[in-house]
């Protein structure tokens, strides 16, 4: 229980720090968001002070002292009020994020779990068969594939399987005729559209899990209890899975949380390539259009999602390893 409370406390503190960082970032940077919007307008002619005031009022540019702004900002964040998007003007940032988030969560979440399970199994196998081709192939292949830039894997798959072979759709998350709803046909269509982005993330992130699991597994294999189990004449598979892998997976689980940030970052680029309507594509649109409120909100949402995922892994770690609960 103390373990859980400590973790919750840490989560709250980290959340606060992330929220504060998000508040400080635009204020540490040169120029103000409203200036950027006005600069865009100014290309078409001079902007009068009254127009400027109107824009600032409309876009919700904060006024008052820094401390007042901060309190106002915290209040808004708690109520999920992130203001109005510059690009998709009448729409609120919160509603835009709400439409985009499920696509990314399902895509990245599902692929990450698949990659973790497959990578861990391959890593166990590589360490157990150390020195054979079962070790060399996944290790070298994994090292090479994890050096692929996400967007490059995506571009290659898009080109060869999407354009040349024509097996898969080249953009979007569902066909242009379909409307998002919970029917079999729509879900199948969405699944079909997600194959290429999912494969990209899988190919690029798998190597990290293989290498991580392999190195912890090799350390575990050197432990006395593994030698003892072998000396007892237990079945090799039993020694590998129930003795060595079970203990080796714990350190690998901690890196799960940290690696997740990288996968989320990579998926942003993948979404850009496939025009997949998730958080990454929205962030790209926001950046290109200098839509600062939308950009800030997306950064915050992405960070909070990764923090929460880390928190869940921490809790899971506590359940799996009783030593950490002491």
């Amino acid at each position: 229980m103390r373990y859980l409370l400590g973790k919750v406390g840490l989560l709250l503190l980290t959340l606060w720090a992330a929220v504060t960082l998000n508040f400080l970032l635009p204020r540490l940077m040169p120029g103000s968001p409203a200036d950027a919007a006005i600069a865009k307008l100014a290309q078409n002619g001079p902007v009068s002070p009254s127009t400027r005031a109107a824009i600032e009022a409309q876009l919700g540019v904060p006024t008052g002292s820094a401390w007042d702004q901060y309190l106002q900002y915290l209040n808004n964040v708690v109520r999920f009020d992130f203001g109005v998007s510059y690009t998709f003007f009448p729409q609120s940032v919160a509603s835009l994020v709400g439409t985009a988030l499920p696509w990314t969560l399902v895509l990245v979440g599902f692929v990450t779990i698949v990659a973790f399970v497959c990578g861990t199994l391959l890593g166990v196998l590589a360490a157990w068969k150390r020195g054979t081709w079962l070790d060399t192939l996944p290790t070298v292949g994994g090292t090479f594939a994890s050096a692929f830039p996400y967007f490059w894997t995506a571009l290659l798959l898009l080109f060869f399987l999407g354009y040349v072979a024509g097996w898969f759709p080249t953009s979007g998350a569902y066909g242009s005729a379909a409307t998002p709803e919970f029917t079999g046909t729509f879900l199948l269509d969405a699944l079909y559209h997600s194959i290429l982005p999912a494969t990209t993330i899988l190919i690029t992130s798998l190597g990290g899990w293989i290498l991580g699991m392999r190195s912890t597994m090799i350390n575990t294999l050197g432990d006395d209890y593994v030698t003892f189990a072998e000396a007892n004449g237990l079945h090799p598979g039993t020694v590998a899975i129930r003795y060595a892998a079970r203990n080796a997976i714990l350190p690998n689980l901690t890196s799960f949380g940290l690696a997740l940030g990288g996968v989320v970052g990579g998926s942003l680029l993948v979404e850009r390539v496939f025009s997949y309507p998730g958080v990454g594509y929205l962030l790209y649109t926001a950046v290109v259009n200098q839509d600062f409120p939308l950009m800030q909100a997306l950064f915050l949402i992405i960070t909070i999602s990764v923090l929460l995922a880390n928190f869940i892994v921490d809790i899971l770690y506590g359940i799996l390893d009783p030593r950490t609960r002491r």
């Binding site: 980290t14 040169p30 350390n219 950064f299």
Partner: protein
């Protein structure tokens, strides 16, 4: 980079280094040569060193090696591969091969500079943080963990979006801001385990200053970790630079592999079927990044002979 394995202070490479500052005559060249041979003895790392060498040579001798200028756009547009243009031309009429060769400059430069700066910050923070105890340590712990958890690429994108079209300097800055934390954490845990060793206690009793203990006594024992985090940070920097430029967040007039991919996507190279435009820059980025990961396989042996290839487990 297995943090658990590299805890032996008395090794040949380290002895050479620590002997180095007793008599000033000991040549650093021999130390470097020996380190190089240690890495070279690992087959995987050998491939990495050779690959990295090729890219560094490409970058240095780009003006000699490239058939045309990098920004020379006097050729026919979107040409296929031919004897005059081995990899064809871009939609703006530039020679692709020349751009690839000149592009090596940006990637090698960003990888080296950003990797070096991140590593310096990681060493300074990691070592002092590992040696400090009490509240200061806790505060640094929190900050480092925060930087580790916050997804780096979105943070880079946001910062880069505010610093409009900052060019390579901006990209290096952004990469360093987000890239030092991992190395700091690895180095810190190693410092913590070394500080309880007898040789550190002896140094404390002989009245050495904390700064000297940290940087003269403890630091040389972490050669392989530091070199490892340098290559790790460089790899991350190269991939991040390419990613940011692919999104159009750098200066899109710079000739680099990232901007080549940016232009390839934006000039519809996918539709015209010029797959080389996509394939070549990405392959170069992957190969450069792989070369560094491969070198890291040999780095473990630098300060721990037990981890050299072929050693018993």
């Amino acid at each position: 980079m297995t943090p658990t394995g590299t805890t032996r202070p008395a090794t040949s490479a380290v002895k050479t280094i620590s002997r180095g500052h007793h008599d000033a005559g000991a040549n650093p060249l021999r130390v470097i040569l020996r380190a190089f041979l240690t890495i070279w003895s690992v087959p995987k790392a050998r491939i990495g060193v050779a690959l990295l060498g090729v890219f560094v040579l490409l970058a240095v001798f780009a003006p000699v090696l490239a058939p045309y200028g990098a920004t020379d756009n006097s050729f026919d547009r979107s040409e296929d591969m031919s004897a005059a243009h081995w990899l064809g031309t871009t939609a703006a009429g530039q020679d692709v091969l020349s751009q690839i060769i000149y592009g090596a400059r940006v990637s090698v430069f960003v990888g080296f500079v950003a990797g070096l700066l991140s590593t310096i910050i990681a060493v300074l923070i990691g070592l002092s943080w590992g040696y400090l105890r009490g509240l200061a340590g806790d505060v640094i712990n929190f900050i480092v963990n925060l930087f580790l958890v916050i997804p780096a690429l979105p943070l880079m994108i946001v910062i880069a979006a505010y610093l409009q079209n900052g060019g390579i300097g901006m990209i290096v800055l952004v990469v360093v801001i987000t890239g030092w934390a991992w190395g700091a954490r690895v180095l810190r845990s190693q410092t913590q385990s070394l500080r309880s060793r007898d040789f550190v206690t002896a140094a404390v009793f002989s009245g050495e200053s904390p700064a000297r203990i940290v940087f003269r006594e403890i630091l040389p024992n972490m050669t392989s970790l530091i070199v490892g985090s340098f290559f790790g940070a460089s790899t991350a920097a190269i991939l991040a630079e390419a990613g940011l430029e692919f999104l159009g967040l750098g200066d899109s007039t710079t000739v680099s592999w990232g901007t080549m991919l940016f232009w390839a996507q934006n000039s519809n190279a996918l539709l015209t079927g010029q797959w080389v435009l996509l394939f070549a820059p990405g392959l170069c980025i992957s190969l450069l990044a792989t070369s560094m990961s491969l070198i890291n396989f040999g780095v473990d042996g630098l300060s721990n002979p037990r981890l050299r290839e072929g050693a018993q487990r």
